[in-house]
Symmetry: C2
């Protein structure tokens, strides 16, 4: 066995880790899209299928973990290669949680479909599409090593947070005006929060990509746009 | 430099990683305790201090990451040692999120304190104490390698989920009866959800400990007790 062969096989193993991450991200992206579509369509069957699909993402995370441990044990990577393996472990764990959020949205769709549609699904599909595109661009940035695209994703998270802030206010106001909508609106707020968290996870992955490519973190402080934890809305008649 | 010295120093480095994890966990535990206490006491100053304390946890996570990368690069650990390093990376990332949840609770306390106290803080202190003890026992299980204690933590998460389920229903009902409490109750539901998520993270860490000590995962399927995603509550008068 020539040393050239060993080097090639090492590169192939690293490439295998990268491809599995992209595959995981692609599944997570589809799950978000399907979860939001199951809301717009009031489609319980699609929501159930989306929950079922979570297992495949969990399995891919285990696969990444095992590939990374094998690489660390047998290849003792250093410098950039070591960073790539550690990054893959972190990114896999973030993508696994993205799929969990999509699962949680799907469960709430099933609950909402048990009652007549009274609450506005509001800007959830728009927010879902913004974040789905963030996942897509993050995966492109990861597989092509494009730090500019990763920085673009990182910046865009603020728009998602702004949309979440206005949805949060809108849904609280709606609940006050029509208390029959309280349970449904609470589920919608949690769904919006889940999507907002997926956006946050994309900024985390974007930071990992930027650091991996440029060796530096984004210079500006991380834009934190979710102000809802501090939001109080007074009922109009009080 | 004798090889004995190198071996000792390697063990010392592993011990350093373990100690940093325990230190991180101790801080996260204090933050949860302080966040919940700031709610019971309506203490905005304590809530602000708790938010500020999050930085120290973030710094400890970076410290664990750097120690782990250094160990992997310079020591090329294999087998149990490699698993210990990978576990430390995963546990540090989970503990960092526990501190984030405590920060989020504290932000909501500040928001609640802007309005008169109308919503019941309900079972949050009880739930907070249950989960604080889970963190404490998880850290003991980690530092002593006690798989039985870790399994005990893992099992107890179901009680937290049950308490969260009943709080979720109670707060929705309260909102329906007194729409003026809608914003406050929504923050309380999110706080309870944050605490429930901390419990989930402890079961994740418990699984890592059990796997590290016994080489096996818990045999029963993971108890999933949070049923609120599927909960619908009808207003009494409808």
């Amino acid at each position: 066995m020539s040393s050239g062969h060993i080097v090639k096989s090492f590169d192939e193993e690293l490439e295998g880790v990268r491809n599995t991450i992209v595959e995981m991200g692609g599944l997570a992206e589809s799950q978000l899209e399907a979860a939001v579509r199951s809301l717009s369509e009031r489609n319980t069957e699609l929501a159930l299928k989306t929950i079922e699909a979570d297992k495949a993402v969990d399995e891919l995370e285990h696969k990444v973990d095992n590939m990374a441990i094998r690489l660390l044990a047998l290849r003792s990577p250093v410098a950039d290669d070591l960073r790539l393996v550690i990054s893959a472990l972190k990114i896999a764990s973030l993508l696994e949680r993205v799929a969990d959020y999509a699962t949680n949205i799907s469960k709430r769709v099933i609950a909402l479909n048990l009652a007549p549609s009274i609450a506005p699904i509001s800007s959830i599909p728009r927010m879902g599409e913004m974040v789905r595109r963030m996942i897509d661009d993050t995966l492109t940035a990861y597989s092509t090593g494009d730090a500019d695209l990763a920085l673009d994703v990182w910046t865009r998270d603020q728009e998602v947070d702004q949309l979440y802030n206005s949805m949060f206010r809108e849904l609280l106001t709606f609940m006050m005006e029509d208390p029959r909508s309280i349970t449904s609106c609470t589920h919608l707020i949690f769904m919006a929060k889940n999507i907002e968290r997926i956006g946050d996870h994309m900024t985390n992955i974007a930071e990992i990509i930027i650091y991996q490519v440029s060796g530096e973190m984004p210079k500006d402080p991380r834009p934190k746009g979710d102000k809802t934890s501090m939001t109080m809305i007074e009922p109009k008649d009080s």
